[in-house]
Every structure is written in structure tokens, then in C-alpha cells.
Symmetry: C2
Subunit: 480 residues, 2 copies
Amino acid sequence: MSKEIGITVKKNEDFSEWYTQVVLKAHLTDYAPVKGLIVLRPYGYSIWESLKSSLDNKLKSTGHENAFLPVLIPESLLSKEADHFVGFTPEVFWVTHSGNTEIGDRLGLRPTSETLAYSMYSKWIKSWRDLPLKINFWNSALRAEIKSTKPFLRTSEFLWQEGHTVHITKEEAEEEVMAILQIYKKTVEEELAIPVLIGKKSEKEKFVGAVYTTTMESIMPDGKALQMGTSHFLGQNFSKPFDVKYLDKENVETFAWQTSWGVSWRLIGALVMVHGDDKGLVLPPRVAPIQIVIVPIYYSPDDREAILSKANEIAEILKNQSLRIHVDGRDEFTPGYKFNDWEMKGVPLRIEIGPKDLAKGKMVLVRRDMSKKSDITFNETEQGVLTVLEDIQKNLYNNAKKFLNERTKNVNDFEQFKKELENGMFLYSPWCGDQKCEEAIKESTGADIRVIPFDGKRSNLPCIICKNPSITDAIFARGY
Amino acid sequence: MSKEIGITVKKNEDFSEWYTQVVLKAHLTDYAPVKGLIVLRPYGYSIWESLKSSLDNKLKSTGHENAFLPVLIPESLLSKEADHFVGFTPEVFWVTHSGNTEIGDRLGLRPTSETLAYSMYSKWIKSWRDLPLKINFWNSALRAEIKSTKPFLRTSEFLWQEGHTVHITKEEAEEEVMAILQIYKKTVEEELAIPVLIGKKSEKEKFVGAVYTTTMESIMPDGKALQMGTSHFLGQNFSKPFDVKYLDKENVETFAWQTSWGVSWRLIGALVMVHGDDKGLVLPPRVAPIQIVIVPIYYSPDDREAILSKANEIAEILKNQSLRIHVDGRDEFTPGYKFNDWEMKGVPLRIEIGPKDLAKGKMVLVRRDMSKKSDITFNETEQGVLTVLEDIQKNLYNNAKKFLNERTKNVNDFEQFKKELENGMFLYSPWCGDQKCEEAIKESTGADIRVIPFDGKRSNLPCIICKNPSITDAIFARGY
């Protein structure tokens, strides 16, 4: 494979350049003509579709419905919840004209839909009978990024889902927040093979407008933490300004309790970073657009026909198992070129069939996640392939889990904290709960509180900064 | 049912008001805070999801892949194909600011993605090996509507899909145009139970930038034609300005041939208009969010428990057949209220189970498409229900087909043309091919050429306007 086509830097030598090469060269994405915007190419979109389908099924089976909201929100509506508006306003794209006509009340492009959704909900909800209302929106959000942008991780438009629910009781809303966080965790761990830590965000880091934010995060190979999904308890912070209220069973008008939550295509970025290697992408079978590629190997026209025919036969058998399989019958490329090409694209399993294999009634399986070859006979096709794919999915998860464990450390002393941070660690450290200590750490090290574990109280150790009694451990790291 | 909840006008008395009431009261949609924009509520979105899933499967099985393009397109790119730009520019929403920063090259909100897609394609396509390229985008388009807006039929943002393909030969591209038109026709006829006429648009009515446009249309109950999907042959009109070219097998740089095509949520509007009645929505089973509603009927607590338990048992049996079923166990409403409610929402089949039914081991089936009741025993549940649902789907199609036939007429004389037009007809009339005659008809009657049938040459009759020899029959009507 020529340099231009293959990945030319090593993952552990120039992580940032490696990442950019992988997402572009594996045809996941490309830069759009506007700075900060990307397109999702079919290969990347297929991963999004798998992820979406898995999450969508879980949401539907827990009583959520999908709907659509327009992308344009009037400024007057966006500004109705003050904290929320102040948080988002520097990033809003503003529409001022339609054709040659100037628009009076400027229209913002959806940075998130709380304001629009709740202005609708306030019309739709009349009585307790209409609750809970649990609606999800698969759309894109737009936030003008001025800092350095990066495909999937920081772009001015991104694909995501945003869920918005309304409940009669505070308790039910808080249960929803946690149920969603668990659905996110399950989806990411099972589909993307990425283990995550869950907990709360600090007051400083929470979603603007929320009472509190729960989060799921993991550590990337460069030692930086990545926020991979959030689920917010909004309390009545929005129901009051937006009049989201209902008549209770005693016919009394009552403000409802709300949640909102979202995951974005940032998860694709995580997938690339966590599993990729120097050859390129490594995809977990559950979300791989192509799970198996068959590369026929032949040197004569006679062999060609017999081997291609067997390859297609094997492909049909596997398609019947609902597997996504591709036979690479391109005559103009050598088998070696094809191996490199599909390795770069991260296809989990390669099947090679050559003349000797055909004669022996067998084929060679080559795993992408480890350089391990094995033979199976044609009769073993279905079971053999399914077993290996399951094993790849598990192995990728276990490797990532091992990495996360290695990169997670309890630290009680600030000097050690600074040293370990340079090693790219998730640090569990005791914290007094004061935002001043949180800010002091941020200022001197660049680390934030990423996650406050739900069971955060490790011991009675003093706060790592002020030495006052700690109220919890918090997980610190530098973040994306 | 109170007046406020039910439909208060008759379909044939005030069609426009009837339509608006149905789409709002059946909870398909609601008005967003910006004039001309609507939201799609869960009940409406579910119809869109069914339609999307059916079309998406057909597109995938014919080798199309999905992808994502951002909504923002720089003005400089939009203006690259002159005719196209002039056609869309009065409707474009312009982003001029991000936060407080003014943007140099204004950004248009996607009115359609030809320009953006092809600027990407030009980077992706290197050689004949990369073709055909067949990509589809499920997104929304934005066109500022200043004329009277109407939910689903004319809104400033609408959900749709836009397909964009690239081919080596003109023939292959033209085959794609027709293949897509056939897929559209099949989807609309089979899923929505709406028969359509297909053919070409005239030069005057074609898509701006296309060589020619093919279309699928049907007549609505108010006698106006509705364009329900278009598939365009773009020739090399875009490949030249956008540099969509490839190295052929002789290594010669060659411009490619292109197509684009789309259908939108306008199809939901068609569905409402074609099948609805004075009671509200009537949904074909294939796309109904709820295909069957079970209304338990009881007068004592003892009956209640036994009947609800049987209703849930029946529901489980039908769920196992992948049917979408709902048991209406609301105690606060009478059966009569529930009947009206679900009839307004268009649920194709209602099952009633009362104490006498339970005693006899049977239930009552009530069809939404005709006021016909029938009994089946509990043992006949699966087969009985499936058969009725299939029959409803067929019956709705046949009724619509009958209506379309009644509303289609051959007319050779202009006086008769004007008279029949007032009767709300699709008129097949001989046309010389001259745009002047087309414009003369438009001016004096308001009718356009909706469709030029592929087999349009009926006879050697003279043009209905100028009396010169006709080259084809064209189908005229007033349109939406």
C-alpha cells in the first residue's frame, strides 16, 4: 500500500495526526467546505446507523417515542431561561435573512432543543393523564466552534439524539435520568466495546440550566478524558419559565419535573481512538459496516473461477446469518494490497481462500484485533465465524477495560497528583466540595473534575487541595 | 366526544379547514413558534418512520448507501450552478453571524444538497472503480415559504430524503432515474395505498438545473394535483461546474453523469387527504402507528378484571405477530368516547370485548375504512386479524384507485377542458410541445402540465390550444 493511502504515523508517536489520518483515510468522514463542519461518508454513517438502531430499540422498549422539531428557534424563545441562554449564546448561528427579506426576531440554529421542545410541551400537556411524556429527537445540533476543531470530537454541527421527558414527580424524573445513563452505558459497552465510568458532574461542569448532570466518561489513549454522554435532571428550572404544567387528580395546576439527555457522533471518535492501531481503524463486529471480508487468492484463471465461486458461496451462507460480508473480487489489486486496505478500514475478520485451501476444503481466518490466524473447514463456516466475531467483540472490550484500569489511580497527595496527571491518568482524589479547590486544580494543572462517582465517599481523607475534610472522591483528568 | 376534540367540519364542505383540523387534532403535527414551521409529533413521526424504513430497505437492497451532509452551505458554493442558484435563492435562509461574529461568505441553509454533495464527490471520485456512487441523505431541507403555508404540503422546513448518484454512462444514469421512480411508486402504492401517475415534467416545470425531471403525482379529493416525488436526470449539468470526473479505463479524464431524487413528508399530507373522512384520519395498516386498538367494555369491577385480562392476552398474541396494538384501559372514559377518539386518530381496526363476548369466547372487529362489524372467536385471533388488516390495506387502495380513475379524463376541446377543470379533474389533452401553449393554459385556467406520460402519444389529435399537430398527451390539472 502506498504511503498516500496507508497511515503514515504511529498512534503513540503523534496521536493527533494519527487520529486525523485514520478518520479521513478509512473514509469515515471528510471536511466540508465550511471550517469546523464535516460530512459523514457512507462507511462512517453505517457505524452511526448501527449505534442508532441499538439505542433506538432500547429507548422504544422503555416507552420513549421519536419526533421532529425544526432547526430554527426564535431568539425570544432561546433567551427565556437566562442561565441556559447565556451558556449557549456565544456559539449560536443566527439567521437574519430569508431570501432578501430581513427577519425581525432573529432565528437561532438549534444548539439544543430544550426551549423549543418545552414551549410545545406546554401546549400538549393538559392533565396528569398526559404524563409521563417521553420524547426523543434524532437530529443535529449546531454550535459554532472557534477553538481547534476535530472530526467527531469538536465540530460546529454534529449528529446526536436529544431526549426530553416530563414527569409528575421529582422521584420519577430522577429515576429516568439514571435509567437513561444506564442505557447509554450498556449501549457503549456492548456495541462499541468501550468501558465507561459514570457519576455526576460538579456544579461547575453541569449543563447550563440543569439541577444536576450525570455523565459517562472514559480515558483515551492520549490520557485525556472524553465525555461520551450526559443525562440531566432539570428539576423545575425549565417547567416554570416555559409553563410546563398539568392538572393533577385534584384539578390543581402543578409544575412538572423534567429531564434531558443526549449522545452524539462523538462516540465514533471514541471508537476510533480506543481501538485503532498503527494500521488504522479496528472496529468491533457489532457496529462494523463490513464484519467479514473474503479475499480470494489465485494465480491462474482456472483457480480464479473456482475460488471466487466458493467465496460467493461462503458469503451467501454468512449473509443468511444476517452478517455483513463483502467479497473483494477486484482483479486489479494484489491480495497484499487488499489485506492492507481492509485492515486500515478496520474490518474485524478476514477470510482468505487460496488454491491449497480449496483443495483441502478449508479457509483461513485472520482477526483484525490480534495477528492470529486459524483454519476452519467449509463445513464449520457458520459456527466458526460467529464464534470468532463474538470473541473479537469481547477481546476489544477486555483490552479497553484493562487500559482503563491501568489508567485509573487513587491519589491523595497533590504532588503525586501532578506527576500522575502527566502520565495521562484518571485520578480518584478526595475533594471538599468547594468550587475554589476545583478551580485551583484546573488553574495549576489543567485537570477538571470529570466524574463524581455515585458511591464517591472512599474514606475520611482530607481534600487534596485545602486539606479540609473531603465529602467525596472526584475523578480528575484533563479532558477533550 | 366534545366539539373541541372532534372534527367539526365535513371533508366535502370545507376541505382546507377539515385538513387542518385532522392533522392537528389527530396529533400528527403542531405549529412551531416560527410561521411556516411545524413539528412532527410522535404519532406523525411514527408514520414517517414506517415510510422511511420501507423506502430505506428498497434503496439499500439496490446498492444505495446513506450519509450525512451539514445543513450550512457557503453562498459561493450555492451559486456555482447559475440556473440552480437563481431558482432557489429567493427561498434561502441566510446565516450571517455566529455568536457576535459576522461571517464573511454567508452560509445558506440547505434548500437541497446538489452543490455541497457534488463538491465532495469531486474529491472522492478518482477513477472508474469508484463508480457508480449512489448515496442517499435522510435530512431536512429549508426553503422560506412566503405564500400560504400548510402542514406537510408547504412548510419552510421539511423532512425528506435526497439521493445523489454518479454514473459512468448516460444510459446507466437514466436507468437509475427510472429505477428510483419505480421504487417511489411501489412504496407509495403499497405502503400508503395511494395510486399514482408517473411521467416527465415539462421544460417549464422541471427541477432547476436538471436535463429533465420525472414525477409521480396523484389527484387529491379537492381536485388539485399533488406532486409526490421527483427523480431528476442531471446529465452533466452539475458534473462540469463541480468537476465530478473520473479517469476511465484508458486513463482519460471524463465528466460523469448524475441523478438526484427525493420524496418528503408531503406524502403524509397526501395520506391524510386521500383516505381521511368526516370522522378524521384513516390510516392504511402498513404505516399506522397503532394498527389495532382493543377497547374493553365492562360495567362492573368483576367484569373489568376478566375482560382486561383477556384484552391483554389477545394483545400479546398479536404483538408476537409484530403487530402494533394498544389496549385502551382508561377508566375515566366511556367506550363511546374511546371509539370516537381512535376513529379520529385513524386506527385501522378496533376490537371490542364485552361481558357477553367473553362468555361466548368471541370478540367484535370494527373496521375504520367501512362501518362493518364482524365477530371472530378467540381461537381465530391471529388469522382473523391479519386477514382483516390486509383487506383494509387493499380496500383503501382500491377506493383511491377508483377515485383517481373517476377523476381522469381525455379532453380534446379547450371549452370542455375548462369545464372539466372546474370538476377537479386530471385532464389528458393533446399538446404541441410549445411552452407558449402551456403558458396560455396556465394563464387562462390556472392549470399546469403535471405529468407527461412516458407513453404519451395517444393519437394524432391537434394541440388543444394552437391546433398544430400534438407531439404527446399531457396531463393537466391545478396543483398544490
